[in-house]
């Protein structure tokens, strides 16, 4: 088994809520609340969860695009949480991010050439000819043509823009790429192209991904392991086959059962959850899911379950599995 490239320990991101006459902090939104996991080199870790569960915030906090409130992030064994910004900047050539909306993340007034060569320049590729060559190379890699370099983002389709975003992320041969909903804005037929591309690139460049998405099928397709988040916490983390075939956490079960499948022959027992996700500013005490959980017990409203091993290298945060131990 390969070494973990990234280890996250007790990561938290709280946002203060201000109020009162003097604008004091009266509360906190616990966007990410005590999340721990690791990613091995060359692995794809999928993170799923519904909107507001903190998965995106977590992705950005790992790269310190948002400063985490608490916790430790180790990249290749080095704690990067306290790293000075200059060192962090250097480190970012190894850690990249791809965003959901490819259009919003590309400067509309720059050519593709400029967009892709900028990170090269920032990280010390001074020769213009060299940069040009590299840009051409990268465009080929992501399935575009060299002549696209002189065009502007608006001249591309959504899928092509995402390819540009990927090329930019790849520019400096990163080791880890955080993919924040990279295909959710794309059409089905284009989505499969990008997913295949990302898979190919992983194999070719030995990349490690943290793949954040809300679409369970997509996550399943691309990931090796999958973590499920609910209200800022990781509720289950397992190899994808284990997770999809035998979900342990009641939330994971409900989530999977709710996905409509394009096969009229599959008649599954759907678990319809009652109500909405509670507000992260005021999460329920104990297990955050107990208000909607069909199996909730007394203990669930009092004691918060920790993410603990449940055999076969899987982890679950649920009293159903830890109660009897």
């Amino acid at each position: 088994m390969r070494q973990p490239i990234l280890e996250v320990e007790g990561l938290k991101k709280y946002y203060p809520i201000q109020g009162g006459i003097f604008g004091k902090t009266v509360g906190e939104v616990k966007a990410v609340d005590d999340v721990s996991f690791y990613v091995r080199e060359g692995e794809i870790l999928g993170i799923v969860g519904e909107s507001g569960c903190g998965k995106s915030t977590m992705g950005k906090a790992i790269l310190r695009l948002i400063e985490p409130t608490e916790g430790e992030i180790k990249f290749e064994g080095q704690d990067i949480t306290e790293l000075p910004s200059e060192d962090m900047r250097k480190l970012r050539r190894d850690m990249q991010i791809i965003f959901q909306d490819p259009y919003a993340s590309l400067n509309p007034r720059h050519t593709v050439e400029k967009i892709i060569s900028e990170p090269l320049l920032v990280h010390g590729m001074k020769s213009k000819a060299e940069r040009k060559k590299r840009v051409r190379e990268l465009l080929e890699v992501v399935g575009l043509s060299a002549y696209h370099a002189s065009r502007y983002p608006h001249q591309f389709s959504g899928g092509q823009r995402q390819r540009i975003g990927i090329a930019r992320a790849l520019a400096n041969n990163p080791k880890l790429i955080i993919c924040d909903e990279p295909v959710s804005a794309l059409d089905v037929s284009v989505q499969s192209q990008i997913l295949n591309l990302m898979g190919d690139l992983r194999d070719e460049f030995n990349l490690t991904y943290i793949f954040i998405a809300h679409d369970l099928s997509v996550v399943k397709h691309i990931s090796d392991r999958v973590g499920v988040m609910y209200l800022g916490r990781m509720v289950e983390l397992a190899d994808k086959d284990d997770l999809y075939e035998d979900p342990k956490h009641p939330y994971t079960q409900a989530l999977l059962s709710a996905v409509p499948e394009p096969d009229p022959d599959i008649k599954k027992e759907r678990i319809i959850l009652e109500g909405d996700v509670p507000s992260p500013a005021n999460p329920p005490a104990g297990c955050a899911f107990h208000t909607r959980c069909p199996f909730a017990m007394d203990i669930c409203s009092k004691v918060r379950p920790e993410l603990e091993p449940a055999g076969d290298g899987r982890f679950v945060a649920c009293h159903l599995y830890h109660g009897e131990q």
Binding site: K220, A258, P264
Partner: protein, 336 residues
Amino acid sequence: MSEVILELKKLSTHFFTDQGEIPAVDQVSFRVHRGEVVGVVGESGSGKSVTSLSVLKLIPDPPGKIVSGSILYKGEDLAQATEKRMKNIRGNEISMIFQEPMTSLDPVFTIGNQMREAIRIHQKVSKKAANERAIEMLKLVGIPRAEDIINEYPHQLSGGMRQRVMIAMAMSSDPSLLIADEPTTALDVTIQAQILDLMKKINQEEQTSILLITHDLGVVADICDRVVVMYAGQVVEQGTTREILKDPQHPYTQGLIRSLPKLRGKEEKLYTIPGTVLRPKKDHVGCRFAPRCEFAFERCFKENPELYDLGEGRESRCFLHAEREGKRLEDATTNT
């Protein structure tokens, strides 16, 4: 088959833009029967949303315009109807709900205000009666604390709740047809399941026909009786849900289904349709899907294929059927 509620006949809606005339909806024909749920499936740019908006003539004009064809609602051609008549139809005979529940309700009026407005446009009832009706509808769509919610503003509700409100509002005048334009796309899966359930319930209990616009074949499988597949402004295939999903005839439909990542089983590599969705152009020559089609042959680039009737309401727009038919004919002749 029961009564036809809605029938589109060769409906064409074009947009007149600086870049020229765009046939966003091109000769689209399909039917919706009483009590039936019909899904219109397609990717962005396929014209499915424009089709649905055209039914209620809600296309912003300019730049959009229904250029030909008819929209027969219970036999009446809405394409020729006056604006006054359309006001009477909208929200009364045919209701519509939209993709973005977060932005589809007016943020500055209370839920009650907007619901009462919807009710009183079509029913001559007192404010009080309208209020009661609104509460009744909110309860029907499963909104807890309906009496309180009615005095709240949209931003105080979650996305799922807002979509329920939209549905309640749409259903308040007992429409014969509910057009739902991507009603669950912006929602989380668990909430999506709730809303789909609600729509099924409405369909079954009220016998309301539903025209569901979606890109999600999973949703289609879940709720629809029949499916219309659109590509680049045209219908490329239609049939029952089972037929379409289990035995797609058109190469596009086939590719679409194959390129979906599956929740079950294992797959190494996804099937991909090469290229990107074609932007519809006027005077397009040949099959619109031909540039991406792995079966395309010479004829596909020269002529636009017709919809081939494959029997029992099944249709597919592909020359392969002609080939097959021809072959079958050929076979038949050689056999005899």
